[in-house]
């Protein structure tokens, strides 16, 4: 398999940022919407 763009450090850094942002934001939003709808005491 050809190496391609994956060798470039900035492309890897961008992808790393993207994966981290998407994953963390997804779970942060999920947690906040679930918490917001929990019944209050």
């Amino acid at each position: 398999v050809k190496a391609g763009l994956v060798q470039s450090w900035w492309a890897q850094a961008l992808l790393l940022l993207w994966i981290a942002a998407v994953t963390l934001l997804h779970y942060a939003l999920l947690a906040s919407t679930v918490l917001a709808r929990l019944p209050r005491p």
Partner: protein, 626 residues
């Protein structure tokens, strides 16, 4: 346990029969027994669905007839059954004895745990998370079984959808009950995972397929569906295998693969109308493939595309012909302005379309561009009940996180390109037809294969930091998805294993509907109930019909007063009404024509409340005064 044994036995018979149909030939080569078995199982299950449809239409829908069907298929393929069982034993032995990398072992354990939870979830009775299953996916098969045949149901528009999956539910209900029925949908998830593993191993490496399977099952929406008697995972299985067969056609140069792809595409269209987009895509793709590779002129390419279309549509056609004959609309109740349709009106079509368009976050070009992001971040907006817990059952972040990895891989694998183009077509169709997350599930397996490929290649080729980041995202997603699924299944687990009675579980879960079903089932013989604000009739043994919006067997707009309403009820043999509290509030507010008629009927004591259970009220249609 009986349910698991029954579904395993049917799956084995279906697989063996499919293996007989798919005997290896020069034009049909398989990379592994697993690959042959997954194609065969889907093919065999598809054949069983149509045989049950046939006996249903012949009014011979008895459990013993279905036993004979399955037994005959198994007997025809007794040699293949032996090969299959020996292959499974060999596969299990090598699975438990072969050494695996740590990553491989973790992925394997995750997949096994998710599948085990899905099976446990499927064993529980359908409850609050299974609205559509209780309304028609299971309810219609129960009505068919009770009548020992498949006949037109005028008050239930959904019964005219293509219903291949529901034929397996007929079988499950006939053999055991709803647990066996639901397990057929779980089986679709399992076969999809196996098909991904087989495809990965055949075309790339095992780890690509394994990561794809992880991406697929880590979507809580997929996991939840695997516990419920819906049909999206069946459509997903046939869609994936059809795409895989198509890829095998051009990568292995085996002409019979095109036939397999067309038949499986037809089965997908026989499960869900949305798969018509798949058939359109594959017809165009077959034209393009033949035109690009054979260089024999456009005539042969046209012939190939036409042959593909004819096979796929022929396979799917029984459902659409049935609908056409019974309602004059092959895609009833959709496209009312083109086809009309029995017991349907422009107003019903408008209401239904408005409901379908109500999901999602808009249809502008910008919304289309943002849809993958919105779907991942605001998944609850793409569901029926954005405020209920089930709405937070999402597609998980892995697809959106991993797919851009493809941009870093240089020249793209053409199988990935093909799957991506299909996913784009399916996504655009989904975007403009109805943006319900569930309707996207049939396209997810193909997209998961792309994400699995991207993830695996990134993990193999990237620097340490990116690898660690990707593994952390995978691990976090696996843990959260497993946690969400364990909580979801945990609620029903006591009922699934018999530690809690079905009655106690459903009384708690269905907010009075189960208790009301017991009241209705105790009504005198000859009773018949019409339901308002409620469609979930699966637990009713007494005959019933839906009352609002889904048919016009009663033209409320043409009734002048309450007396005419009661007369219309009597003409249909109705003796009772069931309505939800919120519908009753509409009646008290006199919110529309029907509500005014009902309010007048109650005020005139033509309708009398006889029972209230939780959210449901039962009214009796009073006898006419002498």
């Amino acid at each position: 346990l009986l349910a698991i044994v029954i579904v395993a036995a049917v799956a084995a018979a279906a697989c063996a029969f499919g293996m007989r149909l798919l005997r290896p030939a020069p034009a049909l080569q398989f990379a592994s027994l697993l690959e042959r078995a997954t194609f065969a199982a889907a093919l065999g299950l598809g054949v069983i669905a149509y045989l049950i449809l046939a006996v249903g239409l012949a009014r011979a829908l008895y459990w013993w007839v279905i036993v004979i069907i399955v037994a005959v298929l198994a007997a025809i393929a007794y040699r293949e059954l032996g090969q299959l069982l020996a292959g499974i034993a060999r596969g299990l032995r090598s699975f438990f004895t072969s050494r695996s990398t740590l990553g491989g072992a973790v992925v394997g354990i995750f997949l096994l745990l998710m599948i085990a939870l899905a099976i446990l979830g499927a064993l529980a009775p359908s409850s609050q998370n299974d609205w559509d299953a209780l309304s028609y996916h299971l309810a219609v098969p129960k009505i068919y079984l009770h009548a020992h045949g498949i006949a037109y149901i005028g008050w239930l528009s959904h019964s005219n959808f293509p219903f291949s999956t529901e034929m397996w539910y007929v079988m499950g209900l006939a053999f055991q009950g709803q647990a066996a029925a639901k397990l057929f949908h779980t089986l679709c998830a399992i076969l999809t995972v196996l098909a991904m593993l087989a495809f990965g191993a055949a075309h790339w490496e095992r780890r690509h397929g394994a990561l794809a399977a992880l991406v697929f099952l880590a979507a809580p929406a997929v996991a939840w569906e695997a516990t419920s008697a819906l049909n999206d995972l069946a459509a997903g299985l046939f869609t994936l295998l059809s795409l895989c067969a198509f890829i095998n056609w051009w990568s292995r140069r085996g002409a019979r693969w095109a036939v397999v792809a067309a038949v499986l595409c037809g089965f997908a269209v026989g499960v869900k109308m949305n798969a018509l987009a798949l058939s359109g895509f594959l017809v165009v793709a077959s034209f393009y493939h033949v035109a690009a590779t054979e260089r024999t002129g456009p005539a042969s390419a046209l012939r190939a595309a036409a042959t593909f279309a004819v096979i796929a549509l022929l396979v799917a056609s029984p459902w659409y012909i049935k609908s056409y004959v019974w309602t004059s609309n092959p895609v009833y109740p959709f496209f009312y302005h083109l086809f009309d349709g029995k017991y349907w009106t422009a107003e019903a079509a408008r209401l239904y379309r408005a409901e379908q368009l109500g999901f999602g976050m808009g249809r502008s070009p910008l919304a289309l561009l943002l849809a993958p992001w919105n779907l991942t971040m605001h998944g609850h907006r793409f569901s029926n009940f954005p405020n209920q817990p089930l709405a937070y059952v999402s597609v998980a972040p892995l697809l959106l996180a991993l797919l851009p990895g493809l941009l870093l891989l240089g020249k793209l694998d053409r199988r990935v390109k093909f799957l991506l183009i299909y996913s784009l077509v399916a996504f655009i169709a989904w975007f403009y037809l109805s943006q319900h997350m569930r309707y996207l599930i049939p396209a997810l397996p193909g997209l998961a294969l792309c994400a699995g490929f991207a993830g695996s290649e990134v993990l193999r080729r990237a620097g340490k930091e990116l690898r660690v980041g990707a593994i952390a995202a995978l691990a976090l997603t696996c843990l959260v998805s497993l946690g969400i699924f364990a909580i979801l299944v945990g609620v029903s687990a006591p009922a699934a294993v018999g530690a809690e009675s079905e009655a106690a579980y459903l009384t708690d879960g269905l907010d009075g509907l189960y208790l009301m079903a017991q009241v209705v089932n105790a009504l005198p013989h000859g009773s018949k109930v019409i339901m308002y604000g409620e469609t979930r009739g699966f637990y009713f043994d007494t005959p019933y019909m839906w009352g609002d919006h889904h048919h016009n067997m009663i033209r409320y707009d043409r009734l002048a007063d309450a007396a005419q309403l009661i007369a219309a009820y009597r003409r249909l043999g109705l003796t009772h009404l069931l309505m939800t509290q919120s519908f009753m509030e509409d009646v008290e507010r006199r919110g529309g024509k029907l509500e005014i008629l009902l309010a007048d009927a109650i005020a005139q004591h033509r309708l009398v409340i006889v029972a209230t259970c939780g959210n449901d009220i039962l009214l009796r249609i009073a006898e006419p005064r002498a």
